[in-house]
Point group: C2
Chain length 232, copies 2
C-alpha cells in the first residue's frame, strides 16, 4: 500500500490504453495538458501515462519541443473562425477571430509561451492563416501588406496571451507587475519627464479597451502602410 506521488489523470479524460503511435502519444499529451497544463507534458510523464519508459517515445517524437508543437496545432482546432461577437465589419470579424485565438491560448497556460517560438505548420494553423488573409482581402488590404500584416497580428495576439497567462499563473509574475507600477509612478520628473507625465496612461485602460485599440491600431497600420516607399 504505497502512496503514489503523482495521480495519473482520470480514465475519463485519458483515451483508454492509447496505442504507442505518434497519434496516441499526441492524444495523451493533449489530455495531460488539459488536465494539468503544458508544464506537465514531459517525456517522462507521458511515458508513465503510457506505461512505458521515456526512451520509447523517441521512436515517434523527435524531442519535447516537437511534441509541444503538435499539441499546439491540435488546440488551434478550437479557435472559432467565425465568432458571433465578430459580426459586421471585417475589422470586427478579424478582431473576433484573434480574440478567440487568444482565449484558446490563455485557457492553457504555457501554450502561449511555446507558441511564440514554435512556428506551427499544422492544418489548424493553416486554416487560421487562411481565414485571417480572407478577412484582410475582404477589407481591400493590398496583398503584400496583408501577408506581412497577418504575421504581426498573430505575433501580437500570441505575445499578449503569453504575458497574460504568465501573469495569471504565478503569483510572482503578479508581484513583478506591481513592481513595474510602483517603479513607473515613483520615477523622478527631472530625469524621466515623459514617463512621469504619462505614468497614469501607461498602465490605465481596461484590458478590453486596450485590446480594442491595439487591434484598430494594427489594422490601420497594415491597411495604410505601403510595402515600399516612405509611407505616412
Amino acid at each position: 500500500m504505497t502512496l503514489r506521488p503523482r495521480t495519473p489523470i482520470s480514465r475519463r479524460e485519458r483515451p483508454a490504453k492509447p496505442a504507442l503511435t505518434r497519434e496516441g502519444i499526441v492524444a495523451t499529451a493533449v489530455a495531460v495538458m488539459r488536465a494539468q497544463g503544458l508544464e506537465k507534458v514531459t517525456m517522462r510523464r507521458l511515458a508513465q501515462e503510457l506505461d512505458t519508459g521515456p526512451a520509447s517515445l523517441y521512436v515517434y517524437v523527435a524531442n519535447t519541443a516537437e511534441l509541444h508543437g503538435a499539441v499546439l496545432d491540435e488546440l488551434l482546432g478550437e479557435v472559432d473562425l467565425d465568432p458571433a461577437e465578430g459580426r459586421g465589419d471585417w475589422r470586427e470579424r478579424l478582431a473576433g477571430v484573434l480574440t478567440s485565438y487568444m482565449h484558446v491560448l490563455f485557457e492553457h497556460p504555457g501554450l502561449a509561451r511555446s507558441a511564440l517560438t514554435a512556428r506551427p505548420s499544422g492544418e489548424h494553423y493553416l486554416r487560421l492563416l487562411e481565414r485571417l488573409l480572407a478577412l484582410l482581402a475582404k477589407g481591400g488590404v493590398p496583398p503584400v501588406q496583408a501577408a506581412w500584416g497577418v504575421d504581426v497580428l498573430l505575433q501580437f495576439a500570441t505575445a499578449t496571451a503569453a504575458e497574460h497567462s504568465t501573469r495569471e499563473q504565478s503569483p510572482e509574475a503578479e508581484d513583478e507587475w506591481d513592481a513595474l507600477t510602483r517603479a513607473v509612478h515613483g520615477v523622478s520628473e527631472k530625469t524621466h519627464p515623459h514617463l512621469h507625465a504619462l505614468a497614469g496612461s501607461l498602465l490605465a485602460g481596461s484590458p478590453e479597451d486596450r485590446m480594442s485599440w491595439c487591434f484598430r491600431m494594427l489594422i490601420n497600420g497594415i491597411s495604410h502602410t505601403p510595402t515600399t516607399g516612405t509611407g505616412s
Copy 2:
C-alpha cells in the same frame, strides 16, 4: 586527477571571488550568461561558480525567474538610446532605438524569451521607456496613444527577437521553419485560396525590409488611431 565535466568560466570573465551578496550573485549571473547563455544561469550552476550550495542563493534571490529578470535589466543597459543609424526623422530614431534593443536581445539567446514574460522594472528599462516616449512626443503623437503604443512597440521588438534567436540557436527550430515554408507552398488552391495566392509574399522580403515595414506600420497605426471612437 578527475575530469571536470563542466568547465568554470575563465577568470577574466568572472569577477574575482564575488561576495555572496545580491550584487555579487547578479554579476556572476551576467558573466555566466555572457559566456554560456541564459540557459546556464541556474541556481545550481551559479552556486558552483560561487563555491557554495544552491540553498545559499535563496537568501538573496527569490527564485530563478527573479534572477533572470535582474540579468535582463543589467543587459538593457547596453541598449543604444541614440544610435547613429537613427539620425534624422523621429521615426527613424525610434526604429533605431528599437533595433538596438533587439540586437542586445538576440546577442544573448534565451534572454529575449525571458523578456517576453519577465516585465522588467529596473532602471535601464525605465530609461528605455523614457526615451521611446520622448521620441513619440517629438513626433507629436497624442500622449495616451504614445503610452499604449510604446507597449506594443516593445512587445513587437521583444517577440521578434525571441523568434529570431530561437531560430538561430537550435537546428530543429530551423527545420520547423522549413516545414512551415513547405506547408504554405503545398496548400491547395481550392481549400486555401488566399493562402495559396499569397504563399510567396508571406515568406518573402529581406528581414530588413520586413522590419522596416513593421516599424513604419506600427508608427503609422499608433499616430493615427485615437484611443476612443472608431478611428480610420
